[in-house]
Symmetry: C2
Subunit: 306 residues, 2 copies
């Protein structure tokens, strides 16, 4: 993950170029991993950084902090944010790289919001503080054949039941910008400093207008995040027109191949919610409707990220 330069460099720039946000502040790093964000904050003059990490990586983070002679500034706490006892009652800044595939997969945002409500001072800063989810539509004949239709005839055998399951699993993969057929629709913007925990569940309408005559095999979701409290707005996008990140994009294959003419629109809605049984999974319901010259479709599809 550290090797995702878009991600790590953005955080580094946010911190090093906006030391006014960090200097002499008490910082909480939620899901610290190797502790890289805590190290950045220490270098930027934080009064103290609490780095919370529940995985085995917490032990590594402790070693790394020591190796870099920053134990007097950074305290690594190995455990779940929901379980640990912070040595302070309040923090000035919460920093976290909580974003999962499709923004919400693995649902670490809830943990950030929990930490915010428990420890962040009134005027405190959350880094990043804005995340938006977008939707567009792509032509993807080759890959859909390879990844989905493949199962209809596997070495002469019918494995359609696997095709059915594959269709329900959003695919995390890199989309070429030339595959994009329509405009991009903003689905949802989240203000991490204000939103309620329940706001990770939502239904958003969309209208995707074709910019050329083409086929549409899939809708594609991606997100961007912003640090609005910086001197000037900073952030990054995980969209197909931006430099690739490890988040890639999230491809939702459509049951039907849509034949669309320039100017025609796919309208519909996307409902997103954590799975009730396993809240780290994400349930997605896609309703879409096209009444075009060559293609009339009205359909509901369910997906599950797990």
């Amino acid at each position: 993950m550290l090797k995702d330069a878009v991600r790590t460099k953005t955080y580094q720039n946010v911190i090093y170029q906006n030391t006014f946000l960090i200097k002499n502040k008490v910082v909480l790093d939620v899901g610290a991993g190797t502790g890289i964000l805590s190290l950045f904050c220490a270098k930027a003059g934080a009064k103290h950084v609490y780095a919370v990490e529940c995985s085995q990586m917490g032990d590594m983070a402790k070693e790394i902090v020591e190796a870099n002679k920053l134990s007097h500034v950074i305290t690594v706490l190995k455990g779940k944010v929901e379980d640990i006892t912070l040595p302070v009652t309040h923090v000035d800044v919460i920093i976290s790289e909580w974003m999962g595939y499709f923004l919400l997969f693995e649902n670490m945002l809830d943990t950030v919001l929990y930490a915010r409500d428990k420890w962040l001072v009134e005027s405190g800063v959350v880094l990043p503080d804005r995340a938006s989810l977008y939707l567009t539509a792509i032509e993807d004949a080759d890959y859909k054949d390879d990844k989905v239709e493949f199962w209809k005839n596997v070495y002469g055998f019918d494995m359609s039941c696997i095709r059915k399951q594959t269709m329900m699993e959003p695919l995390v993969d890199t989309v070429d910008e030339h595959q994009i057929v329509t405009n991009t629709q903003l689905l949802k913007t989240m203000d991490i400093s204000k939103m309620a925990s329940g706001d990770v569940s939502f239904t958003a309408p969309f209208k995707l207008v074709a910019e050329r005559n083409d086929y549409i095999h899939a809708l594609v979701a991606y997100f961007d995040v912003s640090f609005t409290k910086c001197h000037k707005l900073m952030g990054f996008s995980t969209g197909p027109r931006s430099r690739a990140t490890h988040w890639k994009q999230t491809v939702l294959y459509l049951e039907d191949v849509l034949t669309i003419c320039k100017g025609e629109a796919i309208v519909g809605s996307m409902t997103v919610a954590p799975n009730k049984t396993n809240p780290r999974d994400v349930d997605i319901i896609l309703k879409y409707f096209l009444n075009g010259l060559h293609c009339q479709v009205s359909r509901t599809q369910q997906y599950k990220m797990r």
Copy 2:
């Protein structure tokens, strides 16, 4: 995994081109997955096939067998080979695609041997019945820098403790044949139809002679499997000179960069054993020695596949 054409086509050819091994025989498919090997055997005229699969995929395999109208020939048993009750006391053939990374990772071979000893008739056939592990040495400056040395300076911080851990984890990756600097040494051949369970632990000596002046950054292990009971020998290799498979190769980075001259030899031994705590993991101890014109090294390194 079905999309690994080398793998699946080899099994298909073995079965379809050697129906004498399968026709009117009772077959046990160990770790059947989607059931593809069982389907091949059914088509080849097996009397009956028992397909054992312990994961959720077992349910899919049942659906697939029904969809292909082969329920009268194939019985899918969802469960562990060690736990299930077979409706028959003996089988004529055991077929399995049990090979893991580095051949032995995840140790499904033990399950095949268990099934062999419990159910296979005296003159029964195991497919495949031979597996060999090989070792060679490669130049890999770029990747070693990227994957290992990276941790020495991560955005200005010392994360050498992660480098140390990374060094101990064999890397499953594709090696270009032009990176190969030495001959290839056969480490171990296993006869699946005869070997004892304990034979998956072994120490094998090696001698790797440089075929040109170069640097050596890593030793590389790979395996091949053979079906010796076929009309003519069939099988496939996962080596860097063969068509790529999902097994790729297994790269063991060396602590030192070795400077080697044509004709000089790295001699040593490799000890391989299932991890005592978690037998699905593999412990590897590599001892190597080079007394060259430009480089004298004698070292022991430990690795763990997990």
